[in-house]
């Protein structure tokens, strides 16, 4: 088994952990962890499955992942700000279903 395969399997496990965390976590910060973990797993997958070009790593997937990392951080930063504001307004940092009558004004 080579290391690319190992990392692909790791990506699979991480993705599963992320999905699980996204479903079961109530706290929004943990949901953000989960999304970030899923993102990382996909980044690993993209780099690990890239075909080397005559012995050199393919720069395209790495450049894409670099862009992806920055975008993930941007979205996370905004998500955190949103979470803090929600917590200020409602006292809770969750998306609990019960306190959300949809017809609320």
């Amino acid at each position: 088994m080579d290391s690319a395969t190992l990392y692909v399997l790791a990506a699979a496990v991480l993705f599963g952990i992320g999905v699980h965390g996204l479903i079961v976590s109530a706290h929004l910060m943990r949901k953000l962890f989960a999304i970030n973990i899923m993102g990382s797993s996909i980044f690993i997958l993209l780099v690990a499955t890239a075909t080397p070009i005559s012995g050199q790593a393919d720069p395209i997937p790495q450049a894409l992942v670099l862009t992806g990392i920055v975008i993930a951080v941007s979205a996370t930063a905004f998500g955190l700000a949103l979470m803090v504001r929600m917590s200020q307004e409602t006292g809770k940092a969750t998306l609990a279903v019960e306190d959300e009558p949809e017809n609320d004004d």
């Binding site: 949901k31 993209l46 504001r85 929600m86 017809n103």
Partner: protein
């Protein structure tokens, strides 16, 4: 000339957004004007080019496709660009009332608004799958920021839910892009057709991208985030979200489907998407029928109307393509008009609960009229753009002998009529109509005017269809049956 014009169409709003951030507040109005006003004029140049010579392609930085990123403007993207520019301008007219420079949220609103606008233009021009991912993120983040802008708890919750789902969707899309790069070695959408063979891996890649886009487009059963987000956002934001932002995701699915992999045999997948569309129509309409708030009714109506855009996949003909494009256009205008009118009503009344709306037609006649005109187009009553779109859909279903779709389209129109007449009945025919609403706040005239202009546009679209339908026909994907 065309290259310069397209460059400005993307970069002028970006520069204006930068100006709105960096310049003192006194200059905000100028930034907004610079970023928005010249756009229709600029768009004329590429329009002439496309009408004359067909699709126009630019290799950015001079590096052609496998190496660099390309912009491609064809009749369909041209139509979408016009729609985006036109509606953003009209809605900005309305936004200039609620977010006039100097008012509390104005300096937060306009930079995001301009960035959203620039992001949409870049998205519509881009021919590169990864570049599209970046533009999608730009559009999503600005859209969510705009939803949460006023900081009301329901809007914050809706924004958060939207953000989480949108991030999930982006990841699925990105995974698909990565797999496609592994399969083909290219990222250009228009190079896929010849390079992507239909193995299970490439099918999975396309499927992942489509699922991601379906989440962003809020297609049933992935719609859960939309009503709360669109129903609680500030008025102009709801309008642009429903009119354009969700639709570009479906536009991208069309691109992938008919331009990216036109050779694939996708009948069953097309049927599945069509069924999803049908379920969206029925579910969205029924849900709209039981809502108690005007903006939520309109938001659920968006869920329903988005379903029509998926009927293109099973019908897959020239007529269906014209129908879907025309539906996109007329629904955009009608829905924007309705959201703006609802925003005006909400603003002057303080609530948009249905039971408080009785008799509002006497106090806010212009807004109620815009609401009604938009409703006429959504229901598909003649003469309106919506009528024409539904008629074309029916014709497409008829000539394909697709009776079940035919029935569905007719049923959708009836349901739309049901939920919209419910609103109009409360507003105009309610017995408690006199003596209410002493304390109305005045709506600014331009705010009503913007709603009215969009509503009239949706009606006029019923008369001036020929050039637009010709444009769509000129931009049909290769190999589509009549």
């Amino acid at each position: 000339m065309t290259t310069e014009a397209l460059a400005l169409i993307v970069f002028l709003p970006l520069l204006a957004a930068a100006g709105a951030v960096v310049l003192p507040t006194a200059w905000l109005g100028l930034s907004i004007r610079v970023g928005l006003m010249p756009l229709p004029l600029l768009l004329l140049i590429p329009t002439l080019e496309v009408l004359e010579n067909g699709a126009y392609r630019i290799a950015l930085a001079g590096h052609s496709a496998p190496l660099g990123i390309a912009w491609q403007l064809d009749p369909l993207s041209l139509l979408m660009l016009w729609l985006n520019v036109g509606m953003t301008l009209l809605i900005s007219l309305h936004a200039n009332c609620s977010f006039r420079p100097g008012q509390p949220h104005a300096h937060r609103f306009w930079p995001l608004w301009l960035l959203l606008f620039a992001g949409m233009n870049a998205l519509l021009l881009s021919a590169d799958l990864f570049n599209i991912y970046v533009t999608l993120e730009l559009v999503t983040l600005t859209a969510i920021g705009l939803i949460a802008l006023e900081g009301k708890p329901p809007a914050l919750r809706a924004a958060m839910r939207y953000l989480l789902l949108a991030l999930l969707a982006s990841l699925l899309y990105l995974l698909g892009v990565g797999l496609i790069y592994g399969q083909t070695g290219v990222l250009d959408l228009y190079l896929l057709a010849e390079r992507l063979a239909p193995g299970w891996l490439s099918v999975t890649a396309i499927a992942l991208m489509i699922v991601g886009l379906l989440i962003k487009a809020a297609i049933f059963p992935l719609h859960a985030w939309l009503p709360a987000a669109h129903g609680n956002a500030p008025g102009p934001v709801s309008a642009i979200l429903s009119a354009m932002v969700v639709k570009v995701s479906i536009y991208l699915i069309w691109r992938l489907w008919f331009w990216g992999v036109p050779e694939w045999d996708l009948d069953r997948a097309a049927l599945l998407l069509g069924v999803l569309g049908g379920m969206a129509i029925v579910y969205g309409s029924l849900a709209a029928l039981v809502q108690q708030r005007l903006k939520l009714i309109i938001a659920y109506s968006t869920v329903a109307q988005l379903g029509y855009l998926l009927l293109l996949f099973p019908l897959a003909s020239t007529l269906a393509f014209q129908a879907a494009s025309y539906h996109l256009l007329s629904h955009g205008m009608a829905k924007a008009a309705m959201f703006l009118a609802a925003a005006n009503i909400l603003r002057s009344l303080g609530t948009d609960r249905l039971r408080h709306l009785a008799g509002i037609d006497q106090r806010l006649p212009l807004d109620v009229f815009a609401l009604a005109l938009g409703g006429v187009s959504i229901m598909g009553l003649p003469p309106s753009g919506g009528f024409l779109a539904k008629w074309l859909f029916l014709e497409a279903a008829w000539s394909a002998r697709a009776w079940s779709w035919l029935i569905l389209i007719a049923l959708g129109g009836l349901l739309a009529a049901a939920y919209l007449f419910r609103v109009l009945a409360v507003v105009c025919l309610h017995p408690r109509r006199r003596g209410n609403h002493r304390h109305l706040k005045r709506t600014p005239d331009t705010a009503s005017l913007a709603a009215m202009l969009l509503a009239v546009g949706a009606i006029i679209a019923g008369f001036t269809s020929a050039p637009i339908l010709d444009l769509v026909e000129a931009g049909l994907p290769p190999g589509l049956p009549r």
